[in-house]
């Protein structure tokens, strides 16, 4: 018989249990399988009641973030062979309420993301007929790293500040705010600063740095937050020393 590996999956079925429990499954051990492949195998061949989110299976959609052996991971990019001979424990992302099995509730993140206006804000708002905004490769390079964020919420699962204080805006939302602040076409810096200079914004961050460590797209949210802190401090000093200057 071909080699198998044990996957321990956190199950939570609100209609029948009050607390999540672990359920073990044996799946074929294929060297080129990722954890998501194993979950799909379980769903298709062993237990159709298992619930989890996934879509692109290639690290672009950001849907399949889960806790694998205690670490927040994109399950489509986490190979079984890395944990051989097992067992591998798969749990929902930490710091979020669990809806069912491996599915978490993400409304809080969505609201926070929206609050920082992660889109190009223009004061003049010219009509499309007036032509496109031009940007040089150098200007693109300034924000490109932060634009790689896929909203997978893995940084939120790794952030102890978010876990302890859910009011904290959190790593990805701040990184995306910075992505638009650094965009040469954007004019919404001040609007975002009003949201993020609050205590629950950038100042909630205590530079644990784990968001950057776990990010599957190398976005460096911790860097974005520190840049933001520096900018906020400079602005405060400016408004303190020159109260007449326009922000």
């Amino acid at each position: 018989m071909a080699e198998t590996i044990t996957i321990e999956v956190a199950r939570y079925r609100p209609e029948q249990e009050a607390e999540p429990t672990l359920q073990s499954y044996e799946v074929p051990f294929n060297k080129d399988w990722v954890v998501l492949d194993a979950l799909n195998y379980i769903k298709d061949h062993v237990d159709g009641s298992l619930s989890f989110r996934w879509s692109c299976r290639m690290g672009v959609c950001g849907s399949c973030g889960m806790t694998v052996n205690g670490e927040p991971k994109l399950t489509c990019a986490t190979f079984l062979s890395h944990y051989h001979p097992g067992p591998i424990r798969v749990e929902p992302l930490r710091n979020f309420p669990v809806v069912r099995d491996l599915v978490i509730e993400m409304t809080d993140f969505m609201e926070k993301l929206q609050s920082v206006k992660p889109w190009i804000v223009r004061e003049d708002d010219p009509a499309p007929a007036e032509g496109e905004f031009l940007q040089t490769p150098e200007q693109l390079d300034k924000y490109k790293q932060f634009s790689m964020c896929i909203n997978c919420m893995i940084c939120y699962a790794a952030c102890p500040v978010y876990g302890l204080d859910p009011q904290f805006v959190g790593p990805a939302a701040i990184a995306l705010a910075q992505r638009y602040n650094l965009d040469s076409r954007d004019q919404g810096k001040q609007e975002r600063m009003d949201v993020l200079s609050q205590h629950e914004g950038i100042w909630g961050c205590t530079f644990v740095g784990e968001c950057t460590e776990v990010c599957p797209k190398n976005v460096d949210p911790a860097g974005a937050i520190q840049q933001y802190k520096l900018a906020a401090t400079q602005e405060w000093f400016k408004s303190f020393l020159m109260p007449w200057s326009k922000p």
Partner: protein, 139 residues
């Protein structure tokens, strides 16, 4: 509670895992964070010592000498030692944070992190050397 987060017939009951009291012991990076938080106690202690030292200095040479003798208490030496280690830890954290907080660009390219952090260490070394030199000359 906002309507979007309320329990309803169509919204199953969510499970919220409590953050365990020992969450910080799970990972070195979390532990480092807690140590930095804890360091404030020792730094505050050092501030008190410094204020007492200034006070003694203001009261004249005899009081200052007495204060210096009091400082030689082994307990105080240990506490100051711990405080010193924590301050070093903070300094290293801040120096390594610099390249994150400042994306320095030269001719359109971002400078590598090491090059942004290195001047901090260089100045630190130079100032420390100067202090050692001054102390040696005096002693």
């Amino acid at each position: 509670m906002k309507p979007s987060t309320a329990y309803s017939q169509y919204h199953p009951k969510w499970h919220r895992t409590r953050v365990s009291t020992l969450w910080w012991s799970r990972k070195w990076s979390y532990l480092k964070f807690m140590l930095r938080e804890l360091s404030s106690v020792f730094v505050a202690f050092y501030v008190v010592i410094l204020l007492l030292q200034l006070h003694a200095l203001g009261r004249g040479p005899e009081a200052y000498l007495e204060f210096q003798l009091w400082l030689q208490n082994p307990l105080l030496v240990v506490l100051n030692g711990i405080g010193f280690l924590f301050v070093l830890f903070h300094a290293v954290t801040w120096f390594n944070l610099t390249p994150k907080a400042m994306a320095v660009r030269l001719r359109g390219r971002r400078l590598p992190n090491v090059l942004v952090a290195a001047p901090n260490y260089a100045v630190w070394l130079a100032v420390s050397a100067l202090i050692v030199f001054l102390l040696m000359r005096q002693g």
